[in-house]
């Protein structure tokens, strides 16, 4: 006889991509690289969702150019998700995008009980609208304050200042350069100074794909089901972030020589 048809109660985990679709994303195949990176990351994300019976992973996406608009408005279970390509063209209404996300994180429509949402902001430029107003609207929402907020800078023209404001203060801030706490607020691990609490610098398609994969698997895992804890963890953040993907030396980079 089968085990009774019951399962662990789960909570929704809202994962929202906030994607720059301005005209500059058209250059050097950046928008294509972003579409590819997200599409490629979905099977791994679905696998993590399945391994976390406590979570129901729901994905959404906002695109912003002249205006901000939902690209994927319906919270969609990652197992069912088919990624439609984002198109680039226009200016950079990042502030408006944050206002859209703010409205989505209001309760309702937000469920009464959930896991911390994950917000991933990806941009290659500067906001052309009122970013501060958008960010303020977002951060008035308790669910946005609780959210894991990550930012990926595509290329070196991205405004890392505003991306850092979106993430919030690095809780390890004030440390001398190169002494950025690693995962879970531990002792410095990344001599390169990389930290998930800073904008992640994607300077080519390969590193973009790695960061997107990391956000959609390791971070989703951390936000939905706690991972092993190590001794010596400092004061815990809302959600301890996993290590960033290691910098792998890859002489035969097969994704292409694009550098932004």
């Amino acid at each position: 006889m089968p085990f009774p048809n019951v399962r662990l109660a789960n909570r929704p985990l809202h994962f929202i991509y906030i994607c720059d679709c301005s005209g500059s994303m058209e250059a050097q195949g950046k928008i294509q690289a972003l579409n590819q990176a997200i599409r490629q990351s979905l099977p791994g994300m679905a696998e993590v969702a399945r391994q976390n019976p406590e979570a129901r992973v729901l994905v959404r996406a906002v695109g912003f150019a002249d205006r901000a608009a939902w690209h994927l408005e319906q919270p969609t279970e990652v197992q069912q998700l088919q990624w439609l390509d984002l198109q680039a063209g226009g200016i950079t209404a990042m502030g408006e995008a944050l206002e859209l996300v703010a409205a989505a994180l209001q309760s309702p429509p937000m469920e009464e009980r959930a896991l911390p949402p994950v917000l991933v902001l990806i941009s290659d430029g500067q906001p052309t609208d009122d970013f501060d107003a958008g960010l303020a609207a977002l951060m008035r929402q308790p669910w946005a304050q609780k959210a894991v907020r990550l930012a990926i800078a595509m290329g070196h023209d991205a405004d890392t200042e505003v991306l850092q404001q979106f993430i919030g203060n690095d809780p390890g801030g004030g440390l001398p350069a190169g002494e950025i706490p690693g995962a879970s607020g531990q002792r410095p691990l990344h001599r390169s100074g990389r930290s998930p609490r800073r904008p992640l610098q994607a300077s080519n398609a390969t590193s973009l794909a790695q960061y997107i994969q990391w956000a959609s698997t390791a971070v989703v895992g951390a936000a939905s089901m706690p991972a092993s804890r190590m001794a010596g963890s400092g004061p815990q953040a809302n959600i301890p972030l996993p290590d960033l993907p290691p910098t792998l030396m890859d002489p035969t980079d097969d994704v292409g020589p694009l550098v932004w």
């Binding site: 006889m1 089968p2 109660a9 909570r11 009980r113 092993s228 809302n238």
Partner: protein, 444 residues
């Protein structure tokens, strides 16, 4: 995924005598990546660590070396077999700035799936197999603790099940340490960690393993969490501080017999309410012992041997409901048991009387050596006989001789016959079976 070791490459590694061929990457996590490899004609799994993981855990290499020398406590562990470091020719092939090291273990055989598949309700599995899995898990920890070792970080993520048999495998054995020595950095996984570890009052060891073991058995048996009841409903955002409260600062067992303030919610926590009544009292008492008094007093937690005894006894009294067919576990002392599933009264079953204990005659139930000799360890993996349904007449039960010796059967007709290894005989016609281990008696 970008693999640290190039697929297809042959690596010369120190620690093994023949070159190792990387066949393919199997997966990767926060600690490292795992590869299917071939060494001297044998397929094995190789785990290679990321530099960040090695930096965090300075004694990792030493613990692995000691585990390898100590050898596996039982076959349930995918134990480290050899520690390997890159030789000079392998160095340029690794895609890491700091090459680090890895260890070899056996490959997980096909048919084993992650325990989360069961807890998530994705798996077709029976109660018999789930109880067996609980037993095998307790047995594995029993063997580990008897060796003076502790595991420290057991969770759903490193437990694998074979749904058809209930057999288990425990992976990720790299935190294993000598109990009490504390030569490691891992604390455990919130939700499975004992409160004193989560709150930083103690370091993980065999006592905290007992807490994690009880959580895992609870999750296997109920598909629910022992501490998540009404108190969880008050939490809007289930983040780190909230988990700390639930599992560390103010933990309360959802079925605490005295304090009912954290009972499961009928809708949100239905799994717990449906499954809890299935299990016999001795199992519930072990959970109460561990999750009530044992929450704050580690020495009060149920021991591995107690879990094995209670789970094996439940399997002995397994009975199929005559109305709905569901597996039930009524106590022999219960005068009027009801089916937990359909509520119908359960007819008094036939019970096989053995030198040590009784086993209900229900298809799938087994006789084990410990039923004949109380000095033998409890084991479920070497059954001497199994009750089986007749292939065409399902309500006819037979007993199959799984041993390698012939048995003598005494029938109600007064006849005697020989039951050879592999043969089954109709239970209804049987009075007594004489085996070299002892006699099996049927009630008249």
């Amino acid at each position: 995924m970008t693999w640290i070791l190039p697929e297809g490459a042959s690596l010369d590694l120190e620690g093994i005598s023949s070159p190792l061929q990387v066949l393919r990457g199997l997966g990767g996590g926060s600690q490292g990546q795992v590869f299917e490899v071939e060494v001297a004609g044998e397929r094995l799994a190789l785990k290679w660590y990321l530099p960040a993981c090695i930096a965090r855990d300075p004694h990792l290499k030493r613990r692995l070396g000691e585990s390898i020398r100590a050898t596996a406590p039982s076959e349930a562990f995918l134990w480290p077999l050899a520690l390997v470091t890159p030789g000079p020719d392998a160095l340029p092939l690794l895609r890491l700035t700091e090459p680090g090291f890895g260890y070899l273990m056996e490959l997980r055989p096909a048919g084993f799936v992650g325990a989360h598949e069961h807890v998530g309700g994705h798996l077709a599995i029976g109660l018999l197999q789930v109880l067996r899995a609980g037993f095998f898990l307790a047995e594995a920890f029993h063997a580990l603790h008897l060796k003076g070792l502790c595991y420290k970080d057991i969770s759903l993520g490193n437990l694998f099940l074979e749904p058809s048999s209930g057999r288990i495998l425990i992976c990720d054995n790299d935190n294993v340490d000598v109990d009490g020595r504390d030569l490691g950095s891992v604390l455990g996984t919130p939700g499975f960690m004992a409160p004193e570890i989560l709150m930083g009052r103690a370091r993980p060891g065999a006592n905290s393993d007992l807490f994690s073991l009880a959580v895992l058995i609870f999750r296997l048996l109920t598909r629910h969490d022992p501490l998540r009841g009404r108190r969880e409903l008050a939490i809007r955002c289930l983040d780190e501080p909230a988990r700390r409260r639930l599992y560390g600062e103010a933990p309360l067992f959802i079925f605490d017999p005295i304090d009912a303030s954290n009972r499961p919610d009928p809708i949100e926590h239905a799994a717990a309410l449906i499954t809890w009544p299935i299990y016999p009292e001795p199992i519930k008492l072990l959970f109460e012992q561990t999750f009530c008094a044992g929450l704050q007093a580690p020495q009060r937690r149920a021991l591995t041997g107690q879990w094995m005894a209670a789970l094996a006894a439940a399997l002995d009294q397994r009975q199929l409901c005559g109305s709905c067919g569901q597996e039930t576990f009524p106590a022999p002392s219960d005068p009027a048991p009801l089916c937990w599933s359909c509520g119908c009264p359960l007819a008094p079953p036939t019970r096989l009387r053995l030198p040590h204990g009784q086993v209900t005659a229900a298809a799938g139930n087994e006789l084990h050596p410990h039923h004949f000799d109380r000095l033998l360890n409890l084991r479920l993996d070497q059954p001497l006989a199994r009750v089986e349904a007749h292939p065409s007449a399902g309500d006819l039960l037979g007993l199959r001789n799984l041993s390698d010796q012939a048995w003598r059967a005494e029938l109600r007709s007064g006849q005697q016959l020989v039951l050879k290894p592999g043969q089954a005989c109709n239970l209804a016609s049987l009075v007594r079976l004489i085996t070299p281990a002892g006699a099996v008696e049927l009630p008249c």
